[in-house]
Amino acid sequence: MDPDPTPYPLPPEPLPMDRPALLAALRARIGRLERAGAAAALARSQAGVVSLSESLDAHLPGGGLARAGLHEILAGEPGAAAGFCAVILGRTGGPVLWIGPDPDAWPPGLMRFGLSPAELVLVRAPRPTDGLWAMEEALRCPAIGGALLSLSEIDLTAARRLQLAAEAGGALGLLLRPDTEDAGPSAALTRWRINALPGDSGSPHQLGDPRWQLDLLRCRGGAPRSWTVTWRTTTDRLDTDADTTPAATPRRRRA
């Protein structure tokens, strides 16, 4: 009886005054329209989003980092960024490729962040074109859980290609880039910036668990935000500090 031939079911008729519910339903519908290319891959893999922690998941659209998509990570501090990438990749639940001009990922340390050497495959691509090619081949493969490409510069076309490849294959792609003043436009679903924070152990003889400053700079279908998180190595959990700032400044803070 609905003459509209849309393939997507219309949301249930909300009450006229329930604006938040109406907005959420519309947002979900737009999200489904935008991610139509990835629908087949997501249905095939039967795996949900990659969950990070309660407060981060609550803020991200879809309740976590979306698979079949590309996410960009600006490394304010290389060690912290590698740890955060390992957390994400370890939770994809499949083989993981770490692609770079000279991949220096060290499995004994990544193990602490939940990425097992049994899942990690390293790929050395000396030239940027080789790296982009390898990343695209990897993302198109439905058998992998995630892939990380470490590179300094990427143009919009190449990033868009990678995003489409991820939508075709269903894996989670990470672009690990050094933190620059102006990171430029992006085709990725999210963009994060990671910086290391001093530990909260309070003792000069104890480092304590790693603490990071996580800035969600850009998020398709969501708002930017900042968190201060601690990686609990004993429980493999990402704990968010209570005193989170409500919104990150879009421009980088001048140091």
Partner: protein
């Protein structure tokens, strides 16, 4: 996708071909030589080179040539793999047949056409002629000065053993079109010259070859037929593809003539017989069982025995093989050694040593020859795809999968280019193997075109068929293995598996990506960095006490205050592996005031302690 002929002149030009000719001139010249054109089939009707410019380089329909897919003659080596179309051969009953191709004028013909030439070699302080081309009245063994006095117009060229050996190997690759079992026999196969590895410096290469080879031990003697380079082909079971032994022999000799080389070819049962007859300049087919009679009247110099032995025997009046063979064996062996007797028996066909082929025998192969050489990438792609389908069908019939596939493209000028791909898991999907080859085919240089393309599966493994979707996880494993195969064609792919070592750099070792990695319980034993710097960064450090953790790190010119430090963790070198003078290390995990966490080590103790940043935590 690109026509590469214009941009790339053919590499590896073989001499005697006039490669600087235009293509048209070349075809015309080959037309005049049409009886010995290697790609001309005796039974192929019509003109040898039909003039159809629009079809040049295109793949001909298979009716022009049959696809020649055959298990190699040694296929019996693979038990359980013989589901092929040909009748099962009981190879023990089949006598082996060998073709020897002696190239007596290789030293001269290597230099190509162009005037009289004298090839000389330094023997001590003397320069003596070893090969003569186009000069009357000069024989090998004369002094170069005498020869130049007789023929002042002749060009004098120093012998280059390395280049000759390389050329012989190239010709052996060319001969792979007849049988997969081709061996070199001649100066190159003697345990002497590594000289073809460095072909350019003539002096160094020659000196090495002289010293190590048995060839150089005969000063003052003319080079005899023992040094004649030769190719040895095991043609058992391959002759029917060419219409019999005589036709095969004719094609081989005419093909070499087309490339500009004079060859004497003999087919016999034993390799020694064939070689001896070919080196003596004979030609023809020795029927099975008549080897001893065939070599009866040959001089002893064609045998691979020491020249001193030949001299000694000839002083006794024994100059021919038959005469020596009629002597009692016991005294002969006592006086001249078992090697002499063995050489005689080999020549007479009484014993037969297996040949050592230049390339491993492929388990399965498929090849196709083309009347019209392939030049364009599209044509080559079509041909390779057809061959891959044929090869994979045979693999499937035998229940095996290929781990390594080699493509050999034979160019019309005789050069052979090889392209190999390997797979992580056994594979027999033509599309997958085709994708692996697609990257590598860029490196082929067609030049004037390829007239034969052969594929060989050199390493195969048993592979049972998988029903799609039935075994859970099998599809993922195969997808992953294919991904690694594709990546490995262009970039390095590896895994890092835990290793039995506590030295930080050796805690993991590289393994191929398709191998599984087991992580032991409780590994790693201590906190390790997430990134290990390839080259440790030397830094300055200040500590409050001599053995205390650092309180200030100077990286470059900037000092960083250390907020907290854990350690030390002392790691002693592995004395059974490392250098004995390698110092032990004290590792600290430090956190700078900015929150950056580093893995810092102090190498050595006391006054010679040096500080390094080795990783990021």
């Amino acid at each position: 996708m690109t026509r590469r002929r214009a941009a790339h002149p053919p590499r590896l030009p073989l001499p005697g071909l006039g490669l600087d000719d235009e293509r048209g001139a070349r075809v015309a010249r080959r037309g005049t030589l049409s009886p010995c054109t290697p790609c001309q089939e005796p039974e192929a009707p019509g003109p040898a080179f039909p003039s159809c410019p629009e079809g040049r380089g295109a793949l001909r329909p298979p009716s022009l040539r049959d696809i020649n897919e055959c298990r190699g003659p040694g296929s019996f080596k693979l038990p359980g793999g013989g589901a092929g179309a040909e009748p099962p051969q009981t190879t023990h009953a089949t006598p082996r047949r060998h073709l020897a191709l002696a190239l007596p004028r290789l030293a001269v013909e290597r230099l190509g056409p162009g005037g009289p030439v004298l090839v000389w070699r330094g023997v001590g302080a003397r320069r003596e002629v070893v090969a003569v081309g186009g000069v009357e009245g000069v024989r090998a063994g004369q002094a170069l000065s005498d020869a130049q006095a007789i023929a002042p117009e002749a060009r004098a060229v120093e012998e280059d053993a390395g280049a000759e050996a390389a050329l012989l190997e190239r010709l052996a690759l060319w001969a792979l079109r007849f049988t997969p079992l081709v061996a070199l026999d001649g100066p190159a196969s003697l345990p002497s010259p590594p000289s073809h590895q460095k072909p350019s410096p003539p002096q160094g290469g020659r000196g090495l070859g002289e010293g190590g080879a048995g060839v150089g031990k005969r000063p003052g003697k003319p080079p005899d037929t023992l040094t004649t380079p030769a190719l040895l082909l095991d043609i058992t079971g391959a002759t029917h593809l060419f219409g019999g032994e005589a036709a095969l022999l004719r094609r081989a000799v005419e093909g070499l003539a087309c490339l500009g080389f004079t060859a004497c070819g003999v087919i016999a049962g034993a390799p020694g017989t064939a070689l001896a007859l070919a080196r003596s300049g004979g030609a023809g087919v020795v029927p099975p069982g008549e080897e001893a009679a065939a070599v009866e009247h040959l001089p002893l110099s064609v045998l691979p025995i020491e020249p001193e032995v030949v001299t000694a025997l000839s002083r006794m009046g024994l100059r021919r093989i038959g005469e020596v063979r009629r002597q009692p064996r016991g005294p002969l062996a006592r006086r001249f050694g078992a090697a002499t007797l063995h050489a005689l028996e080999e020549a007479a066909g009484e014993v037969s040593a297996p040949i050592s082929p230049i390339r491993p025998l492929p388990d399965f192969s498929a090849s196709r020859e083309f009347l019209e050489p392939l030049i364009t990438r599209e044509a080559i792609d079509v041909a390779v795809a057809a061959l891959l389908r044929a090869l994979c069908r045979r693999l499937e019939e035998a229940g095996r999968g290929a781990r390594r596939v080699v493509l050999r493209a034979h160019r019309v000028d005789g050069a052979v280019q090889e392209v190999a791909v390997g797979t992580g898991l056994a594979a027999r999907d033509p599309a997958h193997l085709g994708r692996l080859f697609a990257e590598r085919l860029e490196r082929l240089e067609p030049g004037f075109g390829f007239d034969r393309i052969a594929l060989g599966a050199e390493a195969t493994e048993a592979m049972t068929g998988l029903q799609g979707g039935f075994v859970r996880g099998a599809q993922e494993t195969e997808d992953l293995a294919r991904l690694f195969d594709r990546l490995a064609q262009r970039v390095q792919v590896w895994r890092l598996a835990p290793a039995e070592s506590h030295w930080p750099e050796r805690e993991v070792m590289r393994v191929p990506p398709t191998t599984g990695v087991l992580v032991p319980e409780g590994w790693p034993r201590s906190v390790r960095p997430v990134r290990l710097l390839r080259r440790p960064l030397e830094v300055g450090a200040m500590a409050l006490l001599p053995d205390a953790p650092p309180s200030l790190l100077r990286i470059g010119k900037i000092g960083h205050r250390v907020r907290a430090a854990e350690g030390p963790e002392r790691i002693e070198p592995e004395w059974w592996r490392a250098r004995p003078d390698r110092p032990g290390r004290d590792y600290y995990r430090v956190e700078l005031a900015s929150g950056v966490r580093l893995w810092v080590c102090r190498s050595g103790f006391g006054a010679e302690a040096r500080w390094f940043v080795q990783g990021r935590l």
